[in-house]
Each structure stands twice: as structure tokens, then as C-alpha cells.
Amino acid sequence: MAKTDIGPPDYRQMLPPVVQRNYGRWRFHEIVRPGVLRHVSENGEELYTVRVGSPRLLDTDAIREICDLADRYCDGYLRFTSRHNIEFLVSDQSKLEPLLQELWKREWPVGGTGNSISNIVHTQGWIHCHTPATDASGIVKAVMDDLYDHFTHMDLPAKLRISMACCLNMCGAVHCSDIAILGIHRKPPYVDKELVSKICEIPTVVAACPTGAIRPNPKEKTVEINEERCMYCGNCYTMCPAIKIMNPETDGVAIFVGGKVSNARTAPMFSRLAIPFLPNNPPRWPEVVEAVHNIVQVWIDHAQKGERMGEWIERIGWERFFQLTGIPFTEKHIDDFIFSVPTFRSTTMFRW
């Protein structure tokens, strides 16, 4: 029988020798060119990192391909980033240019450093999940095709972090991204009453609803949904497969903006609702691509140097953001959940 609880492989076995020698002794870094970092250690040793955009969904051939490259240029060492990019760790400067050449030939994009867009953190969508309101990989591909040049050029006012989650569970840091693309449902789920009584625990289902929209119906051993209160989150479905939330007609995508995670300059911020709904329009979701493009472009045109999306918006005010982007402001933008009150405008200070 297999050993259990051995835990992951020890990272120390995975570190390239240059890292082992300089572990904790890095002195500074610079961005040599988009996608290429140069870290210098206390004793002057150098490590070049080449960051490569990845679709995250890789087959074993793709992994073997990057292993080949790592063997050839990096003594067999590489890593992945927290945003799912690949990083080649080049300790021999003379191998840097050849690696870049080869990546270029193989059409692996190099970039994502400094003031660029990095990879879109995303989720399973129709590829592997049971609750999605949209696909993830397809939208990501379409949006990254559109923003490609901002990955390979560091021409943005600041870092741009886009994330994508295919349902309100928000697997990823969608709730704190410069731009978040979020799959949403828009109709209360359909309750298969008979099935509920057979396969679901009623109290758990009732408790799952964030808005208290679910009432037990003890007589028929099922539940009823108050359609006025339901906000289509799908949490009931997670607890009970007999409550169907997916709806090909009405599911789609929402866009949130202005989140950030780092503590640099300003505290971390949540992403906030910009566009309540865009249709699911596979395979390339043109409305979503266009909407993201527009927001990015308006930010580029108006932000000051170094200003993250949310910092820019907070400086100019949300009212101005809606004006500049041409996005209509609706009742949906006004919070009405638990912590709504602190989001209301309790001052006469605002722009026209």
C-alpha cells in the first residue's frame, strides 16, 4: 500500500544551485526587459528569470517541452508563479539570449513583469466544474489575445491583474483584482421538488442561502425559493444537486474593477461592480473582450504613472469612472447586502 501523509516533495531538492547558494541573500533585482528579471545576490551572483505566459491548461507534452527547455538552458530547473506563469531560471547569462530566441520561435510569450498585464488567474469553467455560469479558458484566451501587447510590453500605468471566475464561488482572487470577470446566473434556480426530498438535507440547504431566500416546505419535504430575494448565487445548488441553477439563456458574465491585493501605497481593495451583465457569447465573447479593452484603455489614457486601476478610480471618484468609461450606472451597482451602509455616499462631496 502507498505511503500516506508524506507531504509534498521537499522544495530544497527543487532549487537550482544558484538559489541554494544565495538563498535569502538576494540583494536587488532589475527588469532587464519585459519578462526578464535579473536578481543579484550579496556576493554578486546573478540569476536571470524568464517569465513565460501559460494557458495553465497543459498537456504532458507541453510540460515535457518546457522541461526540455529547462534542461537545455537552466540545468533542469524551473518554477511556476502564483499567477500560473512559467519561470525559467537561468544562472548562466550566456544562455539567456538563446532561450529567448527559442521561446520566440515556439511562440511562447515572454512578459508579465513590471507595469504589464500578467496572466489571468482563472478557474475551470465548462472544462471541469459543475456550477459554472460561463467558461473560463475561452474568455481568458480571447481577452489575452486582445491584451497580448500589454503582456509583452511594460507600457501600462502600473501592474494590471485580471482574474476570471466562472461562478460566484470565485475560485481565485477575483474579488480583489484590477479587473474581475465573473460568471453569473440571473434566474432563481429551479427546484426539482421530488428529487430534493430524496437526496437533499433540507436544513443545510436552507442555511446555505446568503439572502435567506429559501423556506423549508416540511409537508412535501422540499424547499421553496422566494424569487424576490434570490440573488442566484448557486450556493443552494452546491448543497443540493436537485436545485438547478445553470441556465443557458440567462447566464453570462459580470465585470468588477478596482481591486488590489498588495499593500503598496494603498491598502488592499475589493473589486467593485462595473458591468452587471454581458452575454455568454462563445467562442470568443466579443462583448467581454471589448468591455475589458475599453476599461483598460480608459485607465491607460487617464491614470497617473504608477496608479493601479483602483487607486486611479478612488482618486477620480467612481462617478467619474462611469462617465469616462461610458458604463451606465444602475440600481444594481448600489449595494444592498450586509455591509451596504458603509458604501453609501455620506457626504455632499462628489463630482457632477
Binding site: 535569502g24 533585482h29 491548461l57 518554477r79 471541469h128 459543475h130 474579488h175 462563445p282
Partner: protein
């Protein structure tokens, strides 16, 4: 193209960003499961709806988590993805690999699975995407044999993750990789056997740049910081100025607490230590000249999570500063107290942040034995609804 069985997905082979469709097609050549996945996805693109059934419970012997069960709702049309479960394989700290370790994984996965993977999942695991039920145990056995183990899923500790930290970053104030590895090893049981009210996530960043987004995505976030003054190399500062960096505008002007003054005559940057809130901005902009202080440790924050069901939370400071040195006893002990406190009180599917919201930070701090300090709050309460312990009222009365 006219004959393509996946005309919609084919559109996603176009464009400059690497195409997941090309990858799936290549895998499909070798693996029928990958082929059916492609076709089922095409159907989803046609119908605008997913085709996976609500997850089922599958797994490997001795564990309760680590595998996500998944079944096609059209096994008639896509028999090869009738069962299409994923493994969450625990990544090495910092996502460092040797090519040989990766090749080993590929070999195993070609043998038992679809050949498709995610490097990595959003929590940080290696995701091996799609295997039939019967292959789960043998696949796991072989993974284990080659030194890999599963990560978390379900109501357990989730796979901790960490930024690259001291391995390649000059800003790291704690050894993120070692700490991540230590915690993961320490809580193997909690990671593999779901017995808690809900999931619990831990993420570790070496400094306030928070490159693993720990504050947003982990119930317990560990973020490196320091207590003394930023270290300054005055010559390097002057060099930045000479190279034309607008120190007044870009550095001092954006310091959130105006802790910096630039004296252009002397080319001197003055830092008022007591005003610095360690946001990293000046260091980020002048990495050759500035570095975190020497007295290093971490800030701990609790409660970060996504939106379900009482709103997304960003983590809340509970320990402004803790030294982080092996064997990390103080942290591990605190974690145990936190796990227990939550485990004993939480309702089903109640994240710790929600529990604290419900019972009050006061109760949490008191019960796990953390002293209240002003660093925990952005600002004190505005309402007068606060509790007096009976013994206090007696003594003050």
C-alpha cells in the same frame, strides 16, 4: 475546417496567446478522454451550458480529500469522460521543480489520466485533470511512490502556498518556503482528512507586496514584515537620483504616511521610522537602495475568503508581529488553538471569518489568547454596544 467537429473551439486556436484548444487537441490524439473532453466542451460552447454533473464522492484509501469527483451528464455521447475526476497534488513550496520531477509526473499521468493538467490550481496544487474511478488508487500509489502526495479538498486544511520568497526575492522577511513546508508537514492529518466545519486556507507571503494574494485568499495569512527602520544605502539613493528618478514625486509623494523627505541639495532620503507603515512602495521603486529592516517577522491576518456567503473578506490583523524562526512553535501552537476554536463553534460551512463576525472578535481573541491591540483595527467601534464581563463591572463599579 468545414468538417471540424469543434468549429467553435477552433476559433480559439487563433490569436497570439497560447491556445488551450491546441493543447487539448494534441492531447486528444493520444487520449480518448481528452478527445471526449474537447467534444463535450464544444457542446457546452454550442449550448452555453456546462455538462458536468454535481460532484460525487470518490477518493483514495486513507484520505477523505484530494480528489474531486466529476461525471459527465452526457456519458452517452462522451463515454470517455463518464468519470473524469481530478487529483489535487500538493506542489513543492514556491512551485519550484526539477525537470526530472515534472517528467515523472507526466509519465504517471500519461499512464492513468487524460494527460491534461493545470499548472497550477488557484489554491496552488498541481491539478491532474481527469481520471476514471478505477485509476485513482493506482495513480495515487504511484505518485506516492515517487514522493508526491495529495493536497486538500473538502472540509479540511487546504494546501498551503507561499511566494518565491528568499529563494529569489530580496524582499523576503520570512522564509516563506520553509514555513509553508513546515506547516504542510505538520498538519498532514488535517490536510488529508476532512473533519472540520469547512475549508481552511493558509498562504504565506514574504513581504507586504503579498505575491500570493494571501490577504484575499486565505483564512490565515502570514505576511513578512519588520519592526525597525528600512535599511538605506545612501550612495545607491544618490545614484537613483543621478539617473533621473523623481524621488520627490514618485517616492516621497506616494508614501501613504508621508514618512519620507527628500533633500535634493544633499541627495538624502530621510525616513521617519515611526511613520513608516511598511507598505513597500519606496523599497519597490528603489530596490538597490532600500531594504526592509533587520528585525524581521510576520504579521498574521485572519478571515480572508471569497464571497460565499456573508461577503468576501480581506484578512484582519490578529498578530501585528511574530518572529518566524524554526521550529515556528509559536505559530504552530496558535494555529492549533485557532483550528480548535473554530472547529468547536462553527456551523456547517462557516468559514472562520464568518464565525468571528458572528461571535465577535472579542470572543475570538479572548478564547485563543491574543491580546487586543490597536493595530487590529482600522478604527475603533463607532457604536456603544460593547460587552462588560461581569467581573469587570464588579471591580470598577
Amino acid at each position: 475546417m468545414a468538417n471540424s467537429k469543434t468549429p467553435r473551439l477552433d476559433e480559439l486556436e487563433k490569436g497570439r496567446w497560447p491556445s488551450f484548444v491546441k493543447i487539448m487537441k494534441r492531447a486528444a490524439v493520444k487520449k480518448p478522454a481528452a478527445g471526449d473532453l474537447l467534444k463535450q466542451l464544444e457542446l457546452s460552447y454550442e449550448e452555453k451550458v456546462g455538462h458536468w454533473k454535481h460532484g460525487g464522492i470518490v477518493g483514495v484509501r486513507g484520505y477523505g480529500g484530494g480528489v474531486i469527483g466529476r461525471y459527465s451528464d452526457r456519458p452517452d455521447r462522451f463515454p470517455n469522460v463518464k468519470e473524469f475526476h481530478t487529483f489535487r497534488v500538493n506542489q513543492p513550496s514556491g512551485w519550484f521543480y526539477t525537470s526530472s520531477a515534472l517528467r515523472q509526473l507526466c509519465d504517471i499521468w500519461d499512464k492513468y489520466g487524460s494527460g491534461l493538467t493545470n499548472f497550477h490550481g488557484a489554491t496552488g496544487d498541481i491539478i491532474l485533470l481527469g481520471a476514471p474511478t478505477e485509476n485513482l488508487q493506482p495513480c495515487f500509489d504511484e505518485l506516492s511512490e515517487h514522493g508526491f502526495d495529495l493536497g486538500g479538498s473538502g472540509s479540511d486544511l487546504r494546501t498551503p502556498s507561499a511566494c518565491v520568497g528568499p529563494a529569489r526575492c530580496e524582499y523576503a522577511c520570512v522564509d516563506t518556503l520553509d514555513l509553508c513546508h513546515t506547516i504542510t508537514q505538520e498538519f498532514q492529518n488535517e490536510l488529508h482528512r476532512p473533519m472540520w466545519p469547512y475549508k481552511f486556507k493558509i498562504k504565506i507571503s514574504g513581504c507586504p507586496n503579498d505575491c500570493v494574494a494571501s490577504i484575499a485568499r486565505s483564512d490565515l495569512s502570514v505576511i513578512g514584515t519588520w519592526r525597525d527602520s528600512i535599511q538605506v544605502d545612501p550612495q545607491a539613493v544618490a545614484a537613483y537620483a543621478d539617473q533621473g528618478l523623481d524621488i520627490q514625486g514618485e517616492i516621497c509623494g506616494k508614501c501613504p504616511t508621508r514618512a519620507l523627505s527628500w533633500h535634493p541639495e544633499r541627495k538624502e532620503l530621510e525616513i521617519r521610522r515611526e511613520e513608516c507603515v511598511r507598505c513597500m512602495h519606496c523599497i519597490n521603486k528603489m530596490p538597490k537602495a532600500l531594504r526592509p529592516g533587520r528585525e524581521r517577522g510576520a504579521t498574521l491576518l485572519i478571515g480572508g475568503k471569497a464571497t460565499m456567503k456573508e461577503s468576501a473578506f480581506l484578512g484582519w490583523v490578529i498578530v501585528p508581529f511574530m518572529k518566524m524562526e524554526p521550529p515556528y512553535t509559536e505559530l504552530l501552537d496558535l494555529l492549533r488553538r485557532i483550528f480548535n476554536w473554530w472547529d468547536e463553534r462553527a456551523k456547517n460551512r462557516e468559514r472562520i471569518g464568518e464565525l468571528i463576525y458572528r461571535l465577535g472578535m472579542r470572543a475570538f481573541l479572548h478564547d485563543v489568547g491574543l491580546p487586543p491591540v490597536p493595530q487590529m483595527v482600522a478604527r475603533p467601534r463607532a457604536n456603544p454596544y460593547y460587552y462588560w464581563r461581569p467581573e469587570e463591572v464588579r471591580s470598577n463599579g
